[in-house]
Symmetry: C2
Subunit: 138 residues, 2 copies
């Protein structure tokens, strides 16, 4: 049960985002959003699309991921140099990052409290990201 996914299906989702529902975008949206919260890299998504017999070029994967981020269907998470993760959970939340495996895990925003937020000297706060980096036991 993903109470946070506001769209019944990929088609509605794309329509709401004003993105033309092409074969590729529909397929990628399905792969991304039909399995609950996920953190995928471009490469992973490319492989999954291929596995699902939906050949999509890597260029389109990147185009689509960025369009989805702009439409707030996805959120980009940067924890590791040289590789972006795309998070299907766009609700306010934070992350564990497991250094050994390179995996991310969501932390619901009410599980952490960030208080006393200082105001920036200029501009407006866009987002507050908390990343808890986890390494091996000892």
């Amino acid at each position: 049960m993903s109470a946070h996914r506001p769209f019944a299906n990929a088609l509605d989702m794309l329509r709401a985002a004003k993105l033309r529902p092409t074969r590729q975008r529909l397929a990628l949206a399905k792969i991304l959003f039909e399995k609950g919260d996920r953190h995928v890299t471009a490469e992973q998504l490319h492989d999954e699309a291929a596995a699902a017999a939906v050949p999509v070029s890597l260029a389109t994967i990147y185009n689509t991921l960025h369009q989805f981020v702009a439409a707030r269907l996805l959120r980009e998470v940067v924890v590791n140099p040289g590789r972006s993760y795309f998070d299907t959970n766009v609700a306010d939340h934070h992350h564990f990052f497991f250094e050994e495996t390179g995996k991310l895990m969501d932390i619901a925003s009410d599980r952490i409290e960030v208080t006393n937020l200082p105001q920036p000297p200029q501009g407006a706060i866009r987002r507050v990201d908390v990343v808890i980096r986890v390494g091996p036991k000892s």
Copy 2:
């Protein structure tokens, strides 16, 4: 006044880190640590070294930055895909990230309170990074 820099000079710093004080490492340490807290990229440091008439190859810049990180003289900060920042402030603290300029600004750890930290399902917490992303006013 940088009350947090525990070494009088670059030489002592390298000795304490068990890194042979070569011409390049001494020069880079000076550039990095003699100007208070900084956030530099490899490219920036390379340029500054060149400007200081200390020609250092980019390979050495990267080697040195990573050795300094391993020795806890520097901390690597990842906020932007495809580019690492190296922070001369290794005390526990957090960051503003200004999306327009790509600049980082330290936030002392006592200016933010992160409470209620959940325990990871496995492994040990290495570090908690809070990044406040700041965009243009409107």
